[in-house]
C-alpha cells in the first residue's frame, strides 16, 4: 500500500487555524503587546502582502459569480485552491496589519479597515469550507465578499493617504481661516451643523421639512415651526431640541447618531442668544464675548511660539534633582525652568541654560544664593517673559547692572534690597506688565517715582505691616506638674523671640511697667498662681495666661462630704479631695466632684498638732460647659463645739466664655487651731444673660483641698 501523502490543501487548511488563533489573540491584545523586531518587519510588510489575498481571493471567488457557461473544468478545479491560498494570505496579511496598527495608527478608517479585513479573512475561510459541501447559491455571498475586499482596500488607502484622498481631486481646497477673518456663522456654527445635522436635513433628505444646508432653510424652519428666533432661547427649536433629554424621541441629533459636544452646544446657544446673525465677524465682537472666546480657542490655538522645540534628550540632560525644566504644556516649544534646593545650588550651572536660550520663557531662581554670579547672560535670552528672583542672594553691584531684558513681562524681586541705582535700572524696563517689589526696602517716595516711571506696569509692593498693630499671642507656661512637695520650676516662653514676658506669682495682674520681666526659670515653694503677659513694641500686649501650682499639704485625720455630688460626677467621693491627684482639665475625667443643685459642703477633722495656716481649693472653670466659679465660698472653723465664720466671700465671677482652666482659691487661716473646718461652695443658680444657657443652673467642680 502506498504511503499516504499529505496534500498541500490539507496543510493549508490546517494553517488557516493557526492564523485564526494568532490573529484573534492579537486582536484582543495588540494595544498592550510588546512586538519583537522580526514581527515588526512582518507588520511593515503588510502593504506588500495585502496584494496577494486581493488577487487570489478575488480570482477564486470570481468562479462562483460567473454564469455557468463560462465555468471551465480547469477553473472549477483551481478555484477552491486559489480561495484556500488566498484565505491563508488574508490570515497572514491580517496578522501583519494588526502588528502594524500598534505603531501608532488610529481613527475611524483604521477601525473599519481592520474589521473589513477580518471579515475578508473569516468570510473567505468559511466560504472555502462551505463550498466543499454545497455548490449552489454561492453567487451572492461571493459578491458580498468581493465588495468587502474592495472596501477593505479603500479604508486601507484612507489610513495611509488620508480620509479624503480618493475624492479630493473633485473638491476645492478650503483656505485656513485666521481669527481676524473668521465669521461667526460660517466658521463657528456652520461646521457644527454640517457634521452633526446636515446628513438628515439637506437637499434630498429633508427630514421634518427642515433644510439646514442653506441659510434660507435655517431661517424658514421646518414643519414644527420657527427654527431660530434671535435671542429667544426658549422658543428656538434648535436650542429646545438639542437640550431635550437623550431618551426623548424629539431629542436632536437622534439617539443613535453622533451627539453634540458640550462646546458645540455652547456655541449654538451663544449664537442664537446673541442674535443668530449670518454675517457677523468674530473680530467685531467684544473680547469677553462668549463667541469670541470660543473662536479664539479654535482659530488661535495654532502656535504661540514660532521657535523650534529642544530635543527630549537635551531636556532630560538639563533636568536634575535640583533643576526642573519642562515645556509649558506638552506640544509647546516654550520652556520654563526652576531651581530648587539652596544647599545644592551651584551658580556655574546657569551656563547650561545657554543651550535653551531661545526656548526659555520663564526662569525661577527664588532664594538661590547667586552671590557674585552675573545675570548679564539673560540679555541673550530673546524670549524670556518671566523672571523670579524672590529672596535670591544677589550682590548689589550685579543688581545695579541688572540686564534690561526687552521681552520680559513679569519680574519678581521681592525680598531683595534695592539701591537707588538698581531701582533706576528697573524703572527703565518699560515693557514690564507685572512687577513684584515686596520687602525691597524702598521709601514711599521711591515707590511713587517708580509708579510714575512705569505707568503701564502693575506694581505690587506687598504688605508692609509696620503700621498694623495687632495683639500678641499669649506666652506659654511650662511646668512639669501642678502638685509638688518641695519646690517647682516653671518656664515661660513665647514664639516671637524678641517679646518681653512679664509675670506675677503674687496674684496681681502683670503689667508692662512694674511686673518682673521673665529671664530665667522661676522656682516656687508654696501654692499659688502664675500670671503672665507678653509685650512688644509695635504690638498690643497679649492676653493673660495663668497656671496654678499647689504644694501638697497635710491630710486631715477624717473628712467627709455633707452633701452628695451629682451622681454623674462623683469621682471617688470624699477621697477625691485628698488623693493628691490633680484632675485634668476635663470635668468628665472622673477626678472631679460636680455640684449643681446643692452647695458643696465638706467637713475636715484636724488634730491639735496640725497648725494650719492656709487652705486652698482647686476648682475647674469651663463656662461653655456651664461650669462657673462658685457664687460664694464659706469657710467655717469649729473649736470646742463653737463655730466661727473664717471666710465668706464671693470670688470673681466669669464675664465671658473662657478657656477650660484650673483655678486655685487660697485662704489664710491665721494660724488659729481649729478641730474642725467646714468648706462650703455655692454653685451659680442662674447663668448670666450673656451666656447661651442664660437662666439655667450652673455647676461647681472641685477636685482637691490643700492644707498647709
Amino acid at each position: 500500500m502506498a504511503r499516504s501523502r499529505i496534500s498541500p490543501s490539507a496543510i493549508l487548511e490546517n494553517l488557516l487555524f493557526v492564523w485564526f488563533g494568532f490573529s484573534a489573540i492579537l486582536l484582543v491584545g495588540i494595544e498592550i503587546a510588546s512586538i519583537p523586531p522580526f514581527l515588526q518587519v512582518l507588520g511593515r510588510a503588510h502593504p506588500l502582502l495585502l496584494h496577494f489575498p486581493i488577487v487570489l481571493v478575488m480570482g477564486g471567488l470570481l468562479f462562483w459569480v460567473l454564469p455557468r457557461s463560462y465555468k471551465s473544468e480547469a477553473y472549477a478545479q483551481i478555484a477552491p485552491f486559489l480561495l484556500l491560498l488566498g484565505a491563508n494570505f488574508s490570515g497572514i496579511t491580517v496578522i501583519a496589519g494588526l502588528v502594524l496598527s500598534s505603531e501608532g495608527y488610529e481613527g475611524d478608517a483604521l477601525f473599519w479597515h481592520q474589521w473589513a479585513g477580518m471579515i475578508t479573512f473569516w468570510g473567505g475561510s468559511f466560504f472555502y469550507f462551505f463550498q466543499k459541501r454545497k455548490q449552489n447559491a454561492l453567487q451572492i455571498p461571493s459578491i458580498l465578499l468581493m465588495l468587502c475586499i474592495v472596501l477593505t482596500g479603500h479604508w486601507g488607502a484612507a489610513i495611509t493617504h488620508g480620509e479624503d484622498f480618493l475624492l479630493a481631486p473633485l473638491k476645492t481646497a478650503e483656505p485656513e481661516v485666521t481669527l481676524a477673518e473668521a465669521e461667526v456663522f460660517e466658521h463657528l456654527v456652520r461646521p457644527i451643523l454640517q457634521s452633526k445635522c446636515e446628513s438628515c436635513h439637506r437637499d434630498g433628505k429633508v427630514k421634518g421639512e427642515l433644510r439646514m444646508d442653506i441659510v434660507e432653510g435655517l431661517q424658514k424652519g421646518g414643519k414644527s415651526g420657527p427654527f431660530i428666533l434671535a435671542g429667544d432661547l426658549d422658543n428656538s427649536l434648535l436650542i429646545k431640541r438639542i437640550n431635550l433629554p437623550l431618551e426623548e424621541e424629539e431629542h436632536m441629533p437622534p439617539k443613535n447618531k453622533t451627539q453634540l459636544t458640550e462646546e458645540e452646544m455652547n456655541i449654538l446657544t451663544a449664537w442664537v442668544n446673541s442674535g443668530a446673525t449670518f454675517d457677523q465677524k468674530v473680530a467685531d465682537l467684544p473680547e469677553e464675548h462668549e463667541l469670541f472666546q470660543f473662536a479664539s480657542k479654535t482659530f488661535d490655538s495654532k502656535q504661540e511660539y514660532d521657535f523650534d522645540a529642544v530635543s527630549d534628550e537635551k531636556l532630560e540632560e538639563l533636568n536634575t534633582f535640583f533643576r526642573k525644566v519642562n515645556p509649558i504644556y506638552p506640544e509647546s516649544p516654550a520652556l520654563e525652568l526652576s531651581y530648587f534646593g539652596i544647599a545644592a545650588f551651584d551658580p556655574k550651572s546657569l551656563s547650561d541654560l545657554q543651550e535653551i536660550r531661545t526656548q526659555l520663557i520663564s526662569l525661577n531662581l527664588d532664594k538661590m544664593p547667586l552671590g557674585n554670579a552675573s545675570l548679564d547672560f539673560l540679555n541673550e535670552f530673546p524670549n524670556l517673559e518671566k523672571l523670579s528672583l524672590n529672596f535670591a542672594e544677589l550682590s548689589q553691584d550685579k543688581l545695579e547692572r541688572f540686564p534690561n531684558i526687552k521681552s520680559l513681562k513679569e519680574l519678581s524681586l521681592s525680598g531683595i534690597q534695592l539701591s537707588q541705582v538698581a531701582l533706576e535700572r528697573i524703572s527703565g524696563m518699560k515693557n514690564l506688565e507685572k512687577l513684584f517689589l515686596w520687602q525691597t526696602g524702598l521709601s514711599a517716595e521711591q515707590k511713587a517715582n517708580l509708579r510714575a516711571q512705569l505707568p503701564n506696569t502693575e506694581i505690587d509692593f506687598g504688605f508692609d505691616g509696620s503700621d498694623v498693630i495687632l495683639p500678641l499671642n499669649p506666652p506659654r507656661i511650662k511646668q512639669e506638674r501642678i502638685l509638688f512637695s518641695e519646690s517647682l520650676e516653671m518656664e515661660l516662653s513665647h514664639p516671637i523671640p524678641s517679646v518681653e514676658i512679664r509675670y506675677s506669682i503674687d496674684g496681681t495682674e502683670p503689667d508692662s511697667l512694674s511686673s518682673p520681666v521673665y529671664e530665667s526659670p522661676i522656682t516656687v515653694t508654696s501654692s499659688g498662681k502664675i500670671r503672665a503677659k507678653a509685650f512688644a513694641k509695635g504690638w498690643i500686649g497679649s492676653q493673660e495666661v495663668s497656671s496654678i501650682f499647689m504644694k501638697s499639704g497635710i491630710k486631715p485625720t477624717e473628712y467627709r462630704l455633707l452633701t452628695q455630688p451629682n451622681p454623674r460626677y462623683q469621682g471617688d467621693l470624699e477621697e477625691t479631695l485628698f488623693d493628691q491627684i490633680k484632675g485634668e482639665n476635663n470635668h468628665t475625667s472622673g477626678e472631679w466632684l460636680g455640684y449643681s443643685e446643692d452647695p458643696f459642703v465638706a467637713e475636715l477633722m484636724l488634730k491639735e498638732s496640725h497648725s494650719i495656716s492656709e487652705l486652698a481649693i482647686s476648682l475647674l472653670y469651663n463656662e461653655s460647659a456651664y461650669i462657673f466659679p462658685p457664687t460664694r465660698v464659706e469657710i467655717i472653723g469649729w473649736k470646742n463645739g463653737k463655730s466661727t465664720i473664717i471666710h465668706s466671700e464671693k470670688p470673681e465671677q466669669s464675664e465671658k466664655i473662657g478657656e477650660i482652666r484650673s483655678e486655685l482659691l487660697s485662704y489664710s487661716l491665721k494660724d488659729a487651731d481649729f478641730d474642725k473646718i467646714q468648706v462650703k461652695l455655692y454653685p451659680i443658680q442662674s447663668l448670666p444673660p450673656w451666656h447661651p444657657g442664660a437662666g439655667a443652673k450652673g455647676w461647681v467642680f472641685v477636685d482637691e483641698i490643700l492644707l498647709n
Binding site: 488563533g21 498592550i32 514581527l39 526642573k324 523670579s388 499671642n473 516671637i496 461653655s624
Partner: protein, 484 residues
C-alpha cells in the same frame, strides 16, 4: 449501515475539528507570549496616558486646599439671607424643604424654626460681595477671590461628605485629589513629595480627619499624601539616627542600592527600583525639608500678616505659612484640614472663635502669594464638606442656636490660578435652602480644579479591578464661567 457511516464521518470530523482547534489554541498561546500582561490583569497603555499630561496649557501649577473640616455655616459667612432674620422662629415651609432627607440629629424635631445670622453682613470690594463680620480679613481680599455660593453635594454626614470631596466617592477606597494630581503631574521639586498634608484643630465642636482622606487608593504608594506633624520634626523619621553621619548614611544607601540592583537583575521586579528611588528621595528630603520648615528667617511683616500664631507649630496660621513655603518650593498639592466647624449648637460663640482662628491667615496666604508673584499660578481653595440648615437644631434663642448638616447649598471660595477674581458665582433662594442659579456639584468642582491644572478630568484615568476610574467618577462639568 448508512447511519454508522454517517456517524463515523461525523465523529471523525469532530475529532479533526478539535485537533485543528488545538492548533489554533497553540498559536494563540504562542501569540500571547508577545503580550506579557495579557492574563495578569495589569495592563493599560498607562505610559501613553501619562505622556500626554498635562492635556493642555495649565493655568495653575499648584493647589493649596484649606479644608474647613466640619462644615462652616454658609449663612454666617458668605450667603447673606435677611429673610431668615425677618422670619426668625417661623417654620421652614415644606415647599422649600421638598422632602430633603435629614440627619438623625434633627429628623425627630417637630418644628424647623428658621434662624438668621447672629452676625452682621456688609458688602465689600468692587464685587460688592456680602461677607459676615466675623471674616474681616477675608473681606479685605474679596476682590482677589471667587465666592461660589451654589455648591452642593450628595452626602449628609461628615465622613462620606469629606471622602466625597477628597476622592470623588463616598466610600473610602479611591485616591485623594492630591494623589490624582501627583499621579498625573508628578512633583515639580524632586526633593519633596508632590502631596503634603497639614492638620490643625480649632476650638469649636470638631469632627475627625482620617488618613484615608489623603490615601493613594489604588494608585502607587508614592502618590500618598505625606502628613507633616506638628512637632519639632515635621516629617517623622527623617533625621539621621543619633551618631550616624551624613556620609555614613550615604554609604549605607549606596550599598543597599547595590544589593537591590542585584536582586532587580535577578527578578526584574519594578517595585525594587521604586524602593531605591524612595530611599533616595528621603535622603534628599533631609536637606530640603529643614530648609522649608524653618520659619525663623521670615520677615516681621509676615508675622504681622499671618498673625503671631503663625510661629506656633500646629496652629492653622502656622500651617498656612508652611503651606506657602511648601507650595513655592514646588509641592503640587498642599492639603490643610482645620477641625472644629461642626456647630450643631452654640453656633454664635463657636463660629466666631473658629473664624478668628482662620480668617487672618487664610487672607494672608492670598496676599503673601500675590506679593511674590505666585498667586497667578497657585490655586487656593477654602471651604467645608457641606453647608448648614437654615433652621435651628435644638433650642432656639435670640442669643444661641445651632444648625444641622445641609447638602443642598453651601459656599466656598477659590482664588488665584486661573480663577476669576472678585466674583460671586451662583445664587440660592431667599431661604438659603435651594440653589436657584448655576449649581456646582462636587464633581464639577473637581473637574474644574483638574482643568485649571491642565488636565481633562475625563482622561486622567487609572485601570483597577477591570474598570477605569477617575476622580470625577462618571460625571462632572468644568465650571467655565469662573475661569479667567
Amino acid at each position: 449501515m448508512e447511519k454508522e457511516f454517517l456517524e463515523h464521518g461525523l465523529s471523525l470530523n469532530r475529532r479533526k475539528f478539535l485537533s485543528r482547534l488545538s492548533l489554533g489554541l497553540g498559536s494563540a498561546a504562542l501569540g500571547s507570549l508577545l503580550i506579557p500582561d495579557l492574563f495578569s490583569g495589569k495592563s493599560e497603555a498607562e505610559d501613553a496616558i501619562m505622556a500626554a499630561l498635562p492635556h493642555f496649557a495649565p493655568k495653575a501649577k499648584r493647589v493649596i486646599y484649606l479644608f474647613q473640616n466640619g462644615a462652616p455655616s454658609q449663612l454666617e459667612s458668605f450667603d447673606y439671607k435677611p429673610l431668615l432674620q425677618k422670619n426668625y422662629g417661623m417654620d421652614l415651609p415644606e415647599s422649600i424643604r421638598m422632602g430633603q432627607r435629614l440627619t438623625g440629629m434633627t429628623a425627630g424635631q417637630d418644628k424647623f424654626p428658621l434662624v438668621g445670622s447672629y452676625y452682621d453682613f456688609n458688602q465689600y470690594g468692587e464685587s460688592r460681595a456680602w461677607i459676615s463680620s466675623i471674616f474681616p480679613y477675608t473681606a479685605k481680599v474679596v476682590d482677589d477671590i471667587c465666592i461660589i455660593k451654589s455648591m452642593h453635594t450628595e452626602a449628609i454626614n461628615h465622613d462620606p461628605a469629606l471622602t466625597f470631596f477628597q476622592t470623588g466617592a463616598q466610600v473610602g477606597n479611591r485616591p485623594s485629589m492630591g494623589s490624582w494630581l501627583s499621579y498625573g503631574l508628578g512633583s515639580e521639586n524632586n526633593n519633596l513629595p508632590a502631596f503634603c498634608v497639614l492638620l490643625s484643630r480649632g476650638r469649636g465642636n470638631g469632627q475627625g480627619v482620617y488618613s484615608k482622606l489623603w490615601s493613594n487608593g489604588f494608585l502607587d504608594a508614592t502618590h500618598q499624601g505625606v502628613q507633616f506633624s506638628n512637632s519639632e520634626d515635621p516629617v517623622l523619621y527623617l533625621r539621621d539616627p543619633h551618631s550616624m553621619s551624613r556620609n555614613e548614611r550615604r554609604k549605607m544607601l549606596d550599598h543597599i542600592a547595590a544589593m537591590n540592583d542585584l536582586s532587580f537583575k535577578e527578578f526584574n521586579d519594578p517595585a525594587i527600583t521604586a524602593k531605591v528611588q524612595q530611599y533616595e528621595m528621603a535622603f534628599r528630603m533631609q536637606t530640603a525639608v529643614p530648609e522649608i520648615t524653618d520659619v525663623s528667617k521670615e520677615p516681621d511683616s509676615i508675622v504681622k500678616l499671618y498673625g503671631p500664631d503663625c510661629l506656633v507649630p500646629g496652629t492653622y496660621a502656622a500651617n498656612c505659612l508652611l503651606a506657602r513655603k511648601l507650595s513655592e518650593s514646588g509641592v503640587r498639592f498642599v492639603q490643610l484640614y482645620h477641625q472644629g466647624w461642626d456647630q450643631h449648637d452654640n453656633l454664635p460663640s463657636q463660629m466666631a472663635m473658629q473664624a478668628k482662628d482662620v480668617d487672618q491667615a487664610s487672607a494672608a496666604l492670598i496676599t503673601d502669594l500675590k506679593q511674590r508673584g505666585l498667586l497667578d499660578e497657585t490655586l487656593v481653595i477654602w471651604g467645608g464638606e457641606f453647608g448648614r440648615t437654615n433652621y435651628c437644631q435644638g433650642k432656639i434663642t435670640l442669643e444661641n442656636y445651632g444648625r444641622d448638616h445641609h447638602p443642598r447649598a453651601f459656599s466656598i471660595w477659590m482664588a488665584g490660578g486661573g480663577v476669576k477674581s472678585g466674583m460671586v458665582y451662583g445664587e440660592t433662594d431667599e431661604f438659603g435652602y435651594n440653589i436657584t442659579e448655576n449649581p456646582v456639584h462636587v464633581h464639577d468642582f473637581q473637574a474644574t480644579i483638574l482643568h485649571l491644572m491642565g488636565i481633562d478630568h475625563e482622561r486622567l484615568t487609572y485601570k483597577h479591578l477591570g474598570r477605569r476610574y477617575r476622580l470625577t467618577d462618571v460625571s462632572g462639568h468644568v465650571v467655565k464661567d469662573i475661569l479667567v
